[in-house]
C-alpha cells in the first residue's frame, strides 16, 4: 500500500512535468525543448516570491500562471509563428521548432545563470508528514499531487466539454481540416502553446516546494516530459496522465522491492515496451 501511494505521488509529480508539453507538442505542434527551462524558471520565481516577498507558492502560482501565459504567447507569436507559416509539412515544422527551441533553451539557461548564479536552491514549504492509512508522506508532495490531479481534470473538462476545447482538439487531430470548419488554427495553436507554458510553470512552482534545483537542471525535466508525452500518445492529456502514473508506480515498486538503482532502467524499459507494442502511445490513435 505504501508503495502504491508513494508511486502515485511520484506519478503526480511526473504528470506536472509533462502536461504542459502535451499541449505544446500535441496541439501547437511545437516540440519545445525549452520546456524544462520554463519549469526551472518558475521554480526560481516561486523561490524568490517565497524567500524575498514571503508569498506562499500556492498563491504565487496565481501570479506565475498568467505571466507564463503572456510570455509564452509572446514567444509563440514572435519566434515560432514565422516558422509555422513557412513550414510546408509537419516534419519540417518539427525540425525547425526543435532547432529554435534548442536555442531558446540556452538563452533561458544563460539568463537564469546570470540572474541567480549556478548554485543549488531550495526552500522549505509544507515539508511535514501527512498521514495516509497510517503511513506518513510529505505534505508538499500530496499538495502537488492534488494540484496535478485537479489541473488534469480541469484540462480534460475544458478540452472535451467546451467549444473552445473541442476546437483545440480538432487542431490536434488535423490542422488542415480544422480550417475548413472555420477554426482559427493559428490562434488556437498559439493559445494551446501559451496554456501549455502556463501548466509547465505551475508544475515548476509546485516542484520547487520539494526539489532542490539549479539553473542547469531543465534538460532533466524535458527528458522526463518527453518520455511521458510520447508514452501517453502525442497530444492526449489523459494518456499523458496515465503514463505519468504508471511510471511513478513502476519506479517506486522496483525501487522498494528490487533496488533503487534500477529506477532509470525501469523507466526506459517501459518506454521501449510502449514504443514496441503501441508506437502511437497508450491512448494515441494510429496515424492514417
Amino acid at each position: 500500500m505504501q508503495i502504491l501511494v508513494t508511486g502515485l505521488l511520484l506519478g503526480g509529480t511526473y504528470a506536472l512535468i509533462a502536461l504542459g508539453l502535451t499541449l505544446q507538442y500535441g496541439v501547437a505542434r511545437i516540440m519545445n525543448l525549452a520546456n524544462g527551462e520554463t519549469l526551472v524558471a518558475a521554480c526560481f520565481v516561486a523561490f524568490w516570491l517565497f524567500t524575498v516577498v514571503e508569498v506562499n507558492p500556492l498563491i504565487g502560482m496565481l501570479a506565475i500562471a498568467p505571466i507564463a501565459v503572456a510570455l509564452n504567447w509572446l514567444i509563440y507569436a514572435g519566434l515560432l509563428q514565422p516558422l509555422v507559416r513557412r513550414a510546408r509539412n509537419r516534419g519540417m515544422l518539427e525540425v525547425d521548432t526543435i532547432l529554435a527551441t534548442f536555442g531558446l533553451l540556452f538563452l533561458f539557461q544563460g539568463l537564469m545563470l546570470l540572474g541567480f548564479g549556478g548554485g543549488y536552491f531550495s526552500y522549505k514549504f509544507l515539508a511535514e508528514p501527512f498521514l495516509i492509512l497510517g503511513d506518513s508522506y510529505g505534505l508538499n508532495r500530496v499538495v502537488a499531487f492534488i494540484a496535478a490531479a485537479s489541473i488534469a481534470a480541469l484540462l480534460y473538462l475544458f478540452l472535451y466539454f467546451t467549444r473552445y476545447g473541442t476546437a483545440i482538439r480538432a487542431v490536434a487531430v488535423d490542422p488542415t481540416s480544422a480550417q475548413l470548419v472555420a477554426i482559427d488554427v493559428p490562434r488556437m495553436a498559439g493559445f494551446a502553446f501559451a496554456l501549455g507554458g502556463a501548466l509547465t510553470a505551475c508544475g515548476g512552482t509546485l516542484l520547487s516546494t520539494f526539489y532542490t534545483f539549479n539553473a542547469s537542471m531543465g534538460v532533466v525535466f524535458t527528458m522526463k516530459a518527453l518520455i511521458i508525452v510520447i508514452m501517453g500518445g502525442v497530444g492526449d492529456v489523459r494518456g499523458a496522465t496515465i503514463a505519468a502514473l504508471i511510471l511513478g508506480v513502476a519506479e517506486t515498486t522496483v525501487a522498494s522491492l528490487i533496488d533503487p538503482g534500477l529506477t532509470l532502467a525501469t523507466n526506459y524499459a517501459l518506454f521501449i515496451l510502449v514504443l514496441l507494442f503501441r508506437p502511437q502511445g497508450i491512448l494515441g490513435r494510429a496515424s492514417a
Partner: protein, 399 residues
C-alpha cells in the same frame, strides 16, 4: 560621410588599443583558471570554487600584489568555462598554457576533471594543487605526476572517517550496531562504498540495508522506508547535494529516527543549515572544520563581505588555502620558475586559513573527514592530523 565615420571609428579603435596596450604593459602575475560555469557541476563550483578565486584576487591585489623577487606583481586572472566536461577542460588548459601563456594554473574543479587534466598540466610543468577532489591510490598517482598535490585526502580517508565516528559513538554505547547504507550510483559513491563497506565490517557493524540510486534522483522515499523497515540504528549516505537535501527531508517526513544520520557532499553547505534549521542539529556530514579557529573565522567574514555568499564548512577554506600555498611558494622562491615553485610547495610549511600545513608525499597531512551540525555550524568531529575536533554526540530525534 560613411567613410569619414568609419575612419574616425578606426582611429578611435587604434587609440583605444594603444591605451589598453599601455595598461597591459604593466607586469602582472597571470593565473589561469578553468572550471565549470555551465553544466551540471556549476552548482558545486559556484558554492565552493569561484567565490574563492574572487576573494583571493581581491585579497592579494588589495595588498599590492604578490612579491616576486624585488617586484610586487598584481594578479591577473584568466578564466575559462569547462562546461562541466573533461574534454573542454583539457582544451582550456592547453589554451591557458600556449595562447595566454599564464604563469600558473589553478587546479580545476572535481576529481574527474583534475584526473583528466593532470597529464597536460604536468607536461607544461605547472604545479596542480587539487583542493576539490580525492581518490584512492594517490601514492601511484603522485609518483606518476609529481607536480600534483592533494589537499582533501584520500577517498578512503573520507569514507573510513565516518566509520570511525560511528565506532566512537557505539563504543560509548550511544548507538547500536545496525547500519543502513546508501550511495549515489556514480564514481564518487562507488569509490566511497568500496572502502566503507569492509571498514564497517572490520569495525563489527552489521549492514542491515544497502542500496544505490541513480545520480540526479530526488525521489528517494523508498530508500528511507527501506532503512526504516530494516530498523537501522545509523543511516549513512554517500550522496550528492540534491539527494543529500532530499534524503534529509524524506527522513524527517517518514520519521526515520536513527541515532546517527550521515550525508555526503552538500551536507557541509551553509545552505543545509539554512534549509533545515533546527532539524539539522546533530546531523553528520562529509567535511568539517574547527569553526572556533581564528583564521577560519576571519576568512568566513571576508568571504561573506567580498563575495556576498557564505563559504561552506569543508572545501571552501581548502580551495582558498590552496591559493595561499601557491602564493607563499612563489614568494619564497622569488620568481615565476614553475619547477622551483613546485619544489617549494612539496617541501615547505604554509600558513593558511586551515592552519599551518605541509605536504607529506604531496598529500596534505591535515584533512577533516566528518563534521556534525551544532547550533548552525558544522563542527569537525573526525579527521587526520587536525586539532579542535569535538566528540560526536548521538543525534536527537527530528522535532
Amino acid at each position: 560621410m560613411l567613410r569619414r565615420t568609419f575612419n574616425s571609428l578606426m582611429v578611435s579603435v587604434a587609440l583605444f588599443s594603444l591605451g589598453a596596450g599601455a595598461a597591459i604593459a604593466e607586469e602582472t602575475l597571470k593565473v589561469g583558471v578553468s572550471a565549470s560555469k555551465t553544466g551540471p557541476l556549476t552548482a558545486g563550483a559556484t558554492a565552493v570554487y569561484w567565490p574563492n578565486m574572487q576573494l583571493w584576487v581581491h585579497d592579494v591585489n588589495q595588498k599590492g600584489g604578490i612579491k616576486v623577487g624585488e617586484k610586487l606583481l598584481k594578479v591577473e586572472l584568466v578564466e575559462y568555462d569547462d562546461k562541466s566536461g573533461p574534454e573542454e577542460a583539457v582544451k582550456n588548459i592547453q589554451r591557458l598554457a600556449t595562447v595566454d601563456k599564464v604563469d600558473f594554473i589553478v587546479a580545476p574543479y572535481t576529481t574527474g576533471i583534475n584526473l583528466a587534466a593532470a597529464p597536460l598540466i604536468a607536461r607544461y610543468g605547472y604545479p596542480q594543487l587539487i583542493a576539490t577532489g580525492n581518490a584512492n591510490e594517490l601514492e601511484t598517482f603522485v609518483k606518476r605526476w609529481p607536480n600534483s598535490f592533494w589537499l582533501l585526502g584520500k577517498a578512503s580517508d573520507m569514507s573510513t572517517g565516518v566509520v570511525g565516528t560511528l565506532k566512537t559513538l557505539r563504543d560509548k554505547g550511544q548507538i547500536g550496531n545496525k547500519v543502513a547504507l546508501a550511495h549515489v550510483g556514480e564514481a564518487f559513491g562507488l569509490e566511497m562504498i568500496q572502502s566503507a563497506k569492509p571498514a564497517f565490517k572490520t569495525a563489527g557493524f552489521d549492514i542491515v540495508y544497502e542500496t544505490s540510486y541513480p545520480i540526479g534522483t530526488q525521489d528517494l522515499a523508498p530508500i528511507i522506508s527501506g532503512a526504516k523497515a530494516a530498523k537501522a540504528d545509523a543511516f549513512v549516505a554517500f550522496s550528492y547535494p540534491p539527494d543529500t537535501f532530499a534524503l534529509t527531508e524524506q527522513a524527517q517526513i517518514q520519521g526515520l529516527n536513527v541515532d546517527a544520520f550521515y550525508v555526503g557532499v552538500g551536507g557541509a553547505l551553509s545552505g543545509y543549515a539554512k534549509r533545515f534549521a533546527k532539524q539539522a542539529e546533530g546531523v553528520l556530514a562529509m567535511g568539517g572544520i574547527n569553526p572556533a579557529d581564528r583564521a577560519y573565522k576571519d576568512y568566513r567574514e571576508r568571504h561573506k563581505q567580498v563575495t556576498g555568499q557564505e563559504p561552506d564548512y569543508w572545501a571552501s577554506p581548502v580551495v582558498y588555502a590552496s591559493l595561499q600555498i601557491l602564493q607563499q611558494a612563489i614568494e619564497k622562491v622569488g620568481s615565476k620558475d614553475r619547477a622551483a615553485v613546485t619544489k617549494a610547495i612539496s617541501s615547505g610549511t604554509f600558513d593558511t586559513v586551515i592552519g599551518k600545513v605541509s605536504f607529506n608525499n604531496n598529500m596534505l597531512g591535515r584533512v577533516w573527514t566528518v563534521g556534525q551540525w551544532n547550533n548552525g555550524v558544522l563542527q569537525g568531529v573526525n579527521g587526520l592530523g587536525v586539532d579542535g575536533a569535538n566528540a560526536p554526540i548521538k543525534k536527537p530525534a527530528w522535532n
